[in-house]
């Protein structure tokens, strides 16, 4: 099975202190460290496991700048066979629709049976997977937590439903699935793994290679502002050391009847 996984390089929320910059246009990007979007990492692991079961290859693809190559390498160190970087100055402010358009153009250049994306990205809106499926005119399932291969035409796909329920579906290939975390246990990639694939060539495609004009990738959604919301009615920020915060929280919970002493 030929599997494509769309991945994204994001600032990892657990290793960064995310702050809005002073002009309110973006987050403060100095001193950030980046990694593969967590959901995407599960998608790549799933793709590798499917390939190891039924054969084929795994390609990872990302829309981003030169530095995004690092996440492709990390996923290749995990076991993906190929990486493709989609990079162009014209892609810089791409919104969800533009990213889906760029991916679609690149996907049309190859042949894939199964296309996986993360269910969402740390810094995204969870829209690329669905849009991409629509543009490709193939079936789509979101929040996938089980994939079973039936044959080279069909797969069975499980989705997590609110309230801890499970849904199972049968789908025709090719299709797009957005992958939920917890579908597997992604393998570890260390410095050694990355060094092993350090010299592997990763082809880059720009707008010209993909036959995209500036219009096709121009954002249709304009970001107006970026800010920390004002504290609303009834909200209270607890301050102090961790111990003090815990103590205050316990008091509050007891006082409001949340827990019984």
């Amino acid at each position: 099975m030929e599997i494509l996984v769309c991945v994204k390089r994001v600032p990892d929320t657990s290793e960064n202190e995310i702050q809005v910059n002073s002009s309110g246009t973006d987050i403060e990007r100095d001193d950030l460290v980046y990694s593969v979007n967590e959901w995407d990492n599960y998608a790549v692991e799933e793709a590798i496991q499917i390939r190891d079961r039924v054969g084929g290859s795994v390609t990872v693809m990302t829309v981003g700048d030169d530095e995004s190559e690092e996440v492709l390498r990390r996923e290749m160190a995990m076991g993906a066979d190929n990486g493709i970087l989609l990079s162009d100055d014209a892609f810089e402010n791409a919104d969800g629709r533009a990213v889906a358009s760029i991916l679609k153009a690149a996907i049309d250049k190859g042949k894939y049976d199964l296309i996986l994306t993360g269910a969402q990205a740390d810094d995204g809106a969870g829209q690329v997977g669905g849009m991409l499926a629509a543009m490709l005119d193939v079936p789509y399932a979101s929040l996938v937590n089980i994939i079973e291969t039936i044959d080279d035409q069909k797969i069975k796909v499980g989705r997590e439903i609110a309230g801890g329920n499970q849904e199972m579906n049968e789908m025709n290939l090719p299709c797009v699935l957005s992958i939920q975390t917890g579908i597997n246990e992604p393998r570890y990639v260390g410095i050694r793994g990355i060094r092993k694939v350090a010299s592997v060539e990763i082809p880059t495609m720009g707008a010209g290679d993909l036959g995209l004009d500036a219009d096709a990738v121009a954002p249709k959604v304009k970001r107006l502002d970026y800010f920390v919301p004002d504290m609303g009615e009834g909200a209270e920020m607890l301050e102090g050391s961790t111990e003090e915060i815990i103590e205050k929280l316990m008091e509050l919970l007891k006082a409001k009847g949340g827990i019984k002493s």
Partner: protein
């Protein structure tokens, strides 16, 4: 001297000269033994290299102390004494036993050097030795069969109990002693009958008993017994020899070598591959131990040498709290793997992966590398290096628990396992206004120099609770008049746990960055309050200035009077010192922290039963804080109970991870208010005289 009975070399049965058996039994025995040994050595041929041919004087000294003097045996009093009796008896009787084999062929054979008076002295002692060994064997059998100490139990998942094998060997040993004494006793009894002067037999020995009870026996009977005893002895002797390499008694043969080739540098971790420099690690195809053949020959020898005594597992904290790890079975399972994959008969079996085969992932991640098992092993079997090698293999395959992946990735990106910002590393010194006002700390991240570099390490830089210890340490350094500075954002995690969790390349990266930053300061020495950082800088790094633990500097300052302590004995407080594994066992620093504690006027201090080199791990440091083990109880909880049992209400430790684990354990055991934990540095800081 005229023999009173016909010796085996000249006897005949039904006209067949018995000398035939005297030749056949040893020839067959030695041939079979050589064959078995060749099969046993086979896996070592496929093993990885291990450099153990250096430092000969140290190794010889270790053999005298640990092998010949059985240094570690008395740590388990009764079993130890029994073993020393058996061992000493064997050493003494080895001469007699080998002489006996030759006597069956040349009756006049005398062991070289034992012809004259020395021979009589030897005979005197060897009679006692044989008797002692028999008594010891019976005591051992009693323990194995009747009292059954718990540590010999084999949990069901590890297979059948090993009692049968133990009893069988004890029976063979007893048989050897009885037949040897019988051989001698019958000869002496016959001599008495014939009015000849018998060889002097030491009173109250087994041979003496036989002689005394058999003088009335008809000569024919004595003659038959004499020859039969000889050949039974001969048969058992060679059967015993060939049986040794088939099980736990292999140690009788391998122990001498295992002790000679012991690991000399405690606390250090073996390189990924001996003979491959750190710079060449990238060229290695594979990392760590994945199959049995990836072990070094010494580690294979360890497996062969395991005597199955269970002392390691008896001391192992992971085993004590029900984690799926028992060091004893790390050895026994690997030994059984070697036996089944390199069989005595038939072809070698295909190599199989160890993880998922004889070992489970959780088994290998359960080890805190505290070193209690290695400290206890009378045969100097290593475990930590094997754990690290197995983990290296798992890391290389991407097989790392999810709970450890985040902290490892954070170490790679941010230089600390919590993913905290590098620029905040020295905030404990710069952001706390109150502290800053009383103790200005030089942060050397933009240059500058200091005589002493204070290496803080991650937990002591970022953890809210541990920062208090760090600040106390800084205050004490200032009081002691030491010119010190910290690296600030240039300092990365020491990588001590990254290395011990098998992430060698991450460790190498951290090491390089730290080494460069430390050397750039031009500091003459390094001090740290974290035993893990201390051990890393001392054992894992090279080319650094001398590394000290802060308790050494405090002890010095107290001695010189630059730190003065006051106190009223803290009425109602009873202190106990908990030895951190990486200060105590791995670095032999037991007395300095205690001396520092005792320097507080009027302090009341008690010792826990498990202290010093038998200290019980708090639960592990560094990445172990993130790992989610399968366990019934926390190690810290057991430790807190031990402190309580000792009558203490304050646990003093000298390691930030011990502090985290102890405080957690006090809370989870519901002992808040009854028990507290404090770091040595904090305690001294609080008792500083104004």
């Amino acid at each position: 001297m005229e023999p009173a009975l016909i010796p085996p070399a000249e006897a005949a049965v039904l006209g067949i000269p018995t000398i035939i058996f005297s030749v056949l039994i040893p020839v067959a025995g030695v041939a079979l033994f050589a064959y078995i040994m060749a099969k046993r050595i086979a896996p070592l041929v496929f093993s990885n290299p291990d450099f153990r041919f250096d430092r000969i004087p140290e190794r010889v000294a270790a053999v005298f102390k640990l092998w010949l003097a059985q240094w570690k045996q008395p740590r388990y009093r009764l079993a130890g004494v029994i073993h020393i009796m058996l061992f000493a008896g064997f050493i003494i009787l080895s001469i007699r036993s080998s002489s006996l084999v030759v006597i069956g062929i040349y009756n006049d054979f005398v062991f070289p050097g034992l012809g004259g008076a020395l021979g009589h002295v030897y005979n005197f002692f060897k009679d006692y030795a044989a008797t002692l060994v028999l008594v010891a064997a019976l005591m051992a059998a009693w323990r194995r069969g009747i009292t059954k100490p718990k540590r010999y139990d084999v949990p069901e998942k590890y297979g059948k109990p090993h009692t049968g094998e133990a009893l069988f060997v004890l029976a063979m040993i007893s048989g050897l002693m009885i037949t040897e004494s019988l051989f001698e006793g019958t000869e002496a009894a016959a001599a008495v009958q014939k009015g000849l002067e018998p060889e002097f037999i030491a009173p109250l020995t087994l041979a003496w008993l036989f002689k005394a009870t058999m003088t009335a026996m008809p000569e024919g009977g004595l003659q038959a017994l004499h020859v039969i005893a000889y050949y039974i002895h001969d048969l058992i002797f060679f059967s015993f020899l060939c049986f040794l390499p088939l099980g736990k008694h292999f140690h009788v043969i391998t122990s001498l070598f295992n002790v000679y080739f012991l690991k000399l540098d405690k606390g250090a971790v073996k390189p990924v591959k001996w003979g491959v420099d750190d710079e060449k690690l990238d060229e290695l195809e594979s990392f760590g131990v994945k199959t049995f053949e990836d072990f070094t020959w010494k580690h294979m020898l360890d497996f062969y040498s395991c005597a199955d005594c269970g002392r390691c597992s008896d001391q192992c904290p992971a085993n004590a709290v029900g984690r799926p790890l028992s060091p004893r079975f790390i050895s026994i399972k690997a030994r059984d793997y070697a036996f089944s994959h390199y069989p005595l008969k038939g072809r070698l079996k295909e190599s199989e992966p160890l993880i998922g085969g004889i070992y489970e992932e959780d088994e290998i991640w359960s080890c805190t590398t505290c070193g209690a098992c290695e400290e206890e092993c009378p045969l100097m079997i290593e475990y930590i290096d094997k754990m690290v090698d197995l983990r290296r293999g798992m890391v290389d395959e991407g097989n790392v628990p999810q709970s450890l992946q985040k902290p490892l990735s954070a170490l790679e990106k941010r230089g600390n396992p919590w993913g905290k910002m590098e620029k905040k590393r020295a905030e404990w010194a710069t952001k706390d206004k109150e502290f800053k006002a009383e103790c200005e700390v030089k942060v050397l991240e933009k240059g500058g120099d200091a005589e002493t570099l204070f290496f803080v390490d991650s937990i002591s830089s970022y953890d809210d609770r541990i920062i208090q210890i760090t600040q106390s340490a800084a205050r004490l350094l200032r009081t002691a008049g030491i010119d010190f500075g910290v690296l600030g954002k240039l300092e990365k995690d020491s990588g001590h746990e990254a290395r011990r969790f098998g992430e060698e390349m991450l460790f190498q990266t951290l090491k390089e960055m730290n080494t460069e930053a430390i050397l750039a300061t031009g500091a003459r020495r390094i001090v740290t309050a974290d035993p893990h950082a201390y051990n890393a800088l001392k054992k894992d790094y090279s080319g650094l200035p001398p590394v000290l633990h802060i308790s050494e500097l405090i002890a010095e300052a107290i001695q010189s009077g630059s730190i003065r302590l006051n106190g009223n004995g803290d009425p109602g407080k009873v202190y106990t010192y908990h030895d951190p594994c990486y200060l105590g066992r791995h670095n032999n620093m037991y007395d300095i922290p205690r001396d520092v504690l005792d320097a507080i006027p009027g302090i009341q201090r008690v010792e826990m039963e498990k202290s010093r080199d038998r200290s019980f791990c708090c639960g592990g440091g560094g990445l172990m804080l993130f790992y989610e083990p399968i366990e019934e109880q926390r190690m810290g909880q057991l430790r807190v109970e031990m402190a309580k049992a000792a009558g203490a209400n304050v646990i003093v430790t000298a390691c930030p991870f011990c502090m985290v684990n102890m405080e957690d354990a006090i809370k989870t055991s519901g002992l808040e208010g009854e028990m507290e934990a404090i770091d040595l540095v904090e305690l001294i800081d609080r008792h500083q005289a104004a």
